[in-house]
């Protein structure tokens, strides 16, 4: 009877499986860093930053775990694909536009909101033509960024539900690689100068 019980327990344990709704957080982080650097050129003055954890998102994956002691192996995940004509076009568009936006970021008129999108922070010192231009630039840039996140998800078979996570990861990259002196909105919604 005892042997039978041990056998059934072993069978039950061996039947336990880990079910992950997989989201390649680390790979998205690397892609985000790469794209931000390619399009906006990264920070002007590289500073010593503490090493990042392997995955910012891996601690909070949307996962269902049933009685698992199985280790996850996200560190070994492959890069996601961030190269196709749509993504290239969007990157080109963002890169080409960056030179028009950066002067306004230097002057503090445009800042990076907490969601990683651009926002018009202040119209001080802008004439109306520049105001119209900043509004158009910000609208176009945010439209491209949103499209970029959607294309990345689509290219990598990531569900549309996960686009906000991609957006959040990119937000961190945009903020981390922002140049000194640019305005960043913190999680409380307060604008601070980097």
């Amino acid at each position: 009877m005892f042997k039978r019980l041990i056998f059934l327990t072993a069978l039950w344990v061996s039947a336990c499986v880990t079910v992950n709704i997989y989201f390649p957080a680390a790979a998205v982080e690397r892609a985000a860093d790469q794209i931000v650097k390619e399009t906006w050129g990264g920070p002007a003055e590289p500073t010593q930053t503490p090493p990042k954890p392997q995955s910012r998102q891996s601690d909070s994956p949307r996962r269902l775990v049933a009685l698992t002691w199985t280790a996850e192996a996200h560190a070994q995940e492959a890069d996601i694909n961030v190269s196709n004509p749509a993504i290239r076009a969007l990157k080109d568009s963002i890169r080409n536009r960056s030179s028009a936006i950066k002067p306004f970021m230097d002057r503090g008129n445009i800042g990076i909101a907490q969601d990683g999108l651009l926002a018009i922070r202040s119209a001080d010192g802008l004439n109306l033509k520049e105001r119209a231009e900043t509004k158009q630039l910000v609208d176009a840039e945010n439209r491209d960024r949103e499209s970029l996140y959607a294309e990345i998800a689509k290219a990598n078979n990531i569900s549309r539900d996960s686009i906000p996570r991609i957006k959040a990861i990119f937000a961190t990259s945009w903020i981390d690689q922002a140049q000194s002196g640019w305005w960043i909105q913190d999680s409380q919604g307060v604008w601070r100068r980097k």
Binding site: P85, A86, S93, N127, L128, K129, Q136, A155
Partner: protein, 965 residues
């Protein structure tokens, strides 16, 4: 009734009868001519005066009346009265009440001076009334002073005393009792007037004031020695003197000197008031209160009856005044000239004189008023100017850093005229929280105003503003640096209850940000020319003429009415234009606004003249417009001249509405016409097209098929329909059919490698919605001796720069020889078949596909040249095998094959290439035949990056025939 009561009644009746009889008797006597003549003669004899009257009368109880009384003494005085009534008191046996209607008294001043006071004649009158009297002082036959319209009402009038004249009278106007004491002789006397407050206690108030307060104490000394000038001095003090609703405390002193001949007088005077009041009952303007000092000097000519005020100086909280005047007191006072200048007027008095909310504002600054008057008193002409150099204004939401104004005025009863009034204001700001804000850096207004009682007020002038700006509460609508100038006219008609405004304002500069739209007005020089009535009772703006013109756009005429202006405006307007530039509209409103979202707009050029006539009705958020639109000579083309559409002529009746759910037009909508003279595309010119179309309930429908003769064939677009062209312009549907388009012409036009064939197809339905253009049906191209059928054609984001084309293609019977020859791929013979599924072209590049293309053995020759082999090798391996194939080419030009082809998938820039056959884990792209010469081509690299694929394709183009060794 007792006997005593009856006796009493009898006595009363008897007394009453006796009084009546007495009254009747007196009346009869007094009306008797003989008695009148006797009485007048008796009085004349006893007094030494000439006394006359028309009639005498009596009125109970004891009032005697003299009509047309006349008393005179030659060379001394002459007195007349229309009616004189004296009421006697039985108890006091004195005249209780004296009333004189319209008396005239003419005194000879010489005789007055010569007369002596012989003693006191006690006279006590309880009530004296003089109504509309006049006094004339004469010297000889010449009148030197006329005082007209004298009305006097005195109570408790006493005349008499032990020495000189003592007169006391109640002065109700000053709420006091006056005592006049005159002592001395006619040529040397002192007069004193003391005004005490009248006790205000009631009938039983027995209290008496401890000290008798003097409201007014006036001393007058007159010295008039025989043959010498008359010298008069007056000093007075007043303390709490009630006057015109105020209490005055201060002093008045003066001196006068009259020459010995009594022909002229000079005088000086000085007035001080400790606390000059803010307002007077009869004066409409309120002043700043505080101490007042005034002085005056002047002269009066008795002979010419001319008063000359040489100097009047006033220093008061409401300003400092200086003035001169000359007044001719002839039959009617005439002002020869009068000038008054009032300076340093604190404009804070505006606060006291304006109604709310202006009374809540603050006004810092000083103003000045200059007045000149001339002419008869009753028809005086007054002119002058109100001026201010610095007024700082702040109140409510409005502030002005500085306002300067000059308002010249003229007044001739009953009309006012303000000519060329100038106002110059800087930094005027309207800033209310959560409302529209506006400011102007500099504002200049020059205007004239005519005002006549019961006539409309009319203001006309010219205004100019620079540096004006405005912004909406959310700052989404902003205007800056606006320069506005032009004439205006404002008329307010109180009787008609209308306010009319007409103006022609030109915007010389300025920028507008309206949501996404930005416009530099300097390039357009907008002109607003309007003539409108506002009817306050109906809260309605009636617009007779309202023209908007733009230099590069044209003119829009607006007429009609806006109702409920202050609440929710409802429009009833007619809009029309005959020469509106579609190109200007495109450039000004569309291209600059949307070019970052749609870069394609930067590549377009638009031309043509629009005309429209619209009736616009309804509230702003649910407007309904109906009318007609036309376009003449319209053109739409690429700036690169790659394509061109036009001239376009359009006539379109329309009915549209802003509210999405509203549908007003019923039945078949009226149809318009669209005619396009030519459509040019890449060197091709399509035949003219013409169709009818309609726009009703926002639905735009093209009724006839549009046939485009292109590339030797016909492209037919039919059932073109926008369900809501206003709100969803991207949502449309149509069907398309291509008939016999010659691919040779198409490829030439597109600058592709030229090949022959035809393109035919039918797409029964094309739907565009939510950034996706999808099709049903298929297009068939007959080319290279075979056929390609394209289906499931879709375009994502068709109007953006990231348009993505999706399709499936089925390939059959393609002659490889024609194909390879066309694309210079060497020479391959045979038939190609297969499919390409899910082909996605994004931004002009293939981004996805799943292809299976292979040869089909139809029994014909299947050979492949060495050059083609080399290019296939380059494509599959990336390496040029020219040297290898060059060696083979010594022996063979081509090889037989049994099949060739590949299976490929492309996604995310990764091309997975597999052969037409797998053998021993090898992917064969070309499988040789059994009969020599034969060749197999094996692909060793199955995964190729897109960038590498591009590099290989470029290498293929460079790769020619292998070198034959």
């Amino acid at each position: 009734m007792t006997s005593l009561a009856r006796a009493g009644i009898k006595v009363f009746v008897l007394l009453l009868a006796a009084a009546a009889l007495l009254s009747l008797a007196l009346t009869a006597v007094l009306r008797s001519g003989r008695f009148k003549d006797w009485l007048l003669a008796e009085v004349s004899q006893r007094s030494g005066f000439a006394v006359g009257a028309d009639s005498l009368g009596f009125r109970p109880p004891l009032t005697f009346i003299v009509n047309a009384a006349e008393v005179s003494k030659a060379g001394q005085f002459h007195f007349t009265a229309v009616r004189l009534s004296a009421g006697f008191s039985l108890w006091s046996r004195t005249v209780d009440k004296l009333r004189i209607d319209r008396p005239t008294l003419s005194l000879d001043i010489d005789s007055v001076m010569k007369s002596t006071t012989t003693g006191a004649t006690p006279i006590a009158l309880r009530d004296v009334i003089v109504q509309d009297g006049s006094l004339t002082l004469k010297k000889g036959a010449q009148s030197i002073l006329d005082l007209a319209r004298i009305t006097l009402r005195a109570q408790g009038f006493n005349l008499g005393g032990p020495a000189g004249i003592t007169l006391s009278a109640d002065v109700p106007q000053l709420k006091g009792t006056a005592e006049l004491t005159v002592t001395g002789q006619a040529r040397d006397f002192d007069a004193q007037i003391i005004l005490h407050p009248k006790p205000s206690g009631g009938l039983f108030d027995q209290r008496k004031p401890a000290t008798k307060t003097e409201l007014l104490h006036l001393r007058l000394k007159l010295r008039a020695p025989e043959g010498e000038p008359v010298d008069a001095r007056m000093e007075s003090k007043f303390n709490g003197l009630q006057w015109a609703g105020n209490k005055l405390t201060g002093s008045l002193s003066g001196e006068a000197s009259i020459d010995a001949e009594l022909t002229s007088a000079t005088f000086t005077g000085k007035v001080t008031a400790e606390d000059f009041p803010t307002s007077f009952r009869a004066m409409p303007v309120k002043l700043a209160d505080g101490p007042l000092n005034a002085s005056f000097t002047g002269s009066y000519s008795f002979s010419r009856r001319m008063l000359a005020l040489q100097s009047v100086r006033v220093s008061a909280p409401f300003g400092n005044a200086m003035g001169v005047a000359r007044v001719d007191f002839g039959s009617e006072p005439i002002i020869s000239s009068a000038k008054l200048t009032l300076r340093d007027i604190p404009l804070a008095i505006l606060k006291m004189n304006l109604p709310a909310p202006w009374s809540q504002w603050s006004y810092d600054g000083l103003g000045r008023v200059s007045i000149e008057a001339q002419g008869p008193w009753r028809a005086m002409a007054v002119r002058g100017a109100v001026q201010c150099d610095t007024l700082r204004l702040r109140g409510g939401a409005i502030a002005a850093a500085n306002i300067a104004f000059s308002v010249p005025f003229e007044w001739t009863a009953p009309s006012w005229r303000f000519k060329q009034a100038r106002l110059h204001a800087t930094q005027v700001v309207y800033k209310a929280p959560n409302r529209w804000q506006a400011a102007v850096a500099k504002l200049q207004v020059e205007s004239s105003l005519d005002y006549q009682a019961n006539q409309p007020v009319k203001i006309s002038g010219h205004m100019e503003s620079t540096g004006a700006k405005f912004n909406s509460p959310d700052s989404s609508k902003i205007g800056e640096n606006i320069g506005l100038q032009g004439p205006f006219e404002f008329t307010a008609d109180r009787q008609m209850q209308t306010a009319t405004v007409a103006a022609k304002l030109t915007v010389a500069s300025g920028e507008i940000l309206w949501g996404k739209f930005f416009g530099d007005l300097k390039s357009q020089l907008p002109v607003l020319d309007f003539d409108a009535d506002y009817l306050p009772s109906e809260d309605r703006l009636r617009c007779r003429r309202c023209n908007f013109s733009f230099a590069n756009l044209g003119l829009i005429d607006v007429a009609g009415a806006v109702e409920g202006d202050s609440q929710a405006p409802v429009l009833r307007l007619q809009l029309s234009s005959q020469n509106f530039s579609s190109g200007g509209f495109f450039e000004f409103f569309l291209r600059e606004t949307f070019n970052r979202q749609y870069p394609l707009l930067d590549q377009l050029a638009v031309a043509g003249q629009l005309a429209f006539q619209l009736q616009v009705d309804g509230p702003l958020d649910a407007l309904n417009a109906a009318g007609a639109l036309s376009l003449q000579g319209g053109e739409l083309r690429a700036k690169s001249n790659q394509w061109q559409i036009g001239p376009i002529n359009l006539k379109l009746p329309l009915q549209i509405h802003l509210a999405q759910s509203r549908a007003t037009a019923r039945g078949a909508p009226p149809a318009g016409t669209l005619a396009i003279a030519s459509i040019g595309f890449a060197g091709q010119t399509a035949a003219p097209i013409a169709t009818t179309l309609s726009l009703a309930n926002n639905a735009l429908r093209v009724h006839q098929p549009i046939r485009l003769g292109l590339f030797g064939g016909v492209l037919v677009i039919d059932n073109l329909f926008w369900p809501d062209a206003l709100h969803e312009p991207k949502r449309l549907s149509f069907s398309a059919e291509a008939k016999g388009l010659k691919l040779e012409e198409l490829t030439q036009a597109m600058q592709w490698p030229r090949f022959s064939g035809t393109l035919t197809g039918s797409i029964p339905e094309v739907q565009s919605a939510d950034n996706l253009l999808s099709t049903r049906g298929e297009i068939q191209a007959e080319l290279f001796g075979g056929r390609i059928r394209i289906s499931k054609l879709e375009i994502e984001n068709p109007f953006s720069s990231l348009a993505s084309l999706k399709l499936d293609a089925r390939i059959a019977g393609i002659q490889l020889e024609q194909l390879t020859k066309t694309f210079a791929f060497g020479r391959i013979s045979g038939i190609l078949e297969g499919s390409i599924d899910n082909l996605v072209l994004t931004h002009g590049q293939p981004s996805e596909l799943s292809a299976d293309l292979h040869s089909a053995d139809r029994g014909g020759e299947q050979r492949i040249s060495v050059e083609a082999l080399n290019k296939i090798t380059v494509l599959s391996s990336g390496k040029d095998a020219g040297s290898l194939y060059g060696g083979l080419a010594v022996f063979f030009d081509s090889f037989r094959y049994s099949k060739l082809g590949f299976k490929a998938t492309l996604k995310n820039d990764r091309l997975t290439l597999r052969g037409v056959e797998s053998r021993n884990n090898q992917e064969l792209l070309v499988v040789g035949s059994f009969l020599p010469p034969t060749v197999n081509v094996v692909s060793h690299t199955q995964n190729i990056a897109f960038s590498e694929l591009l590099r290989r394709l470029q290498q293929i183009n460079k790769t020619g025939k292998p070198n034959v060794q």
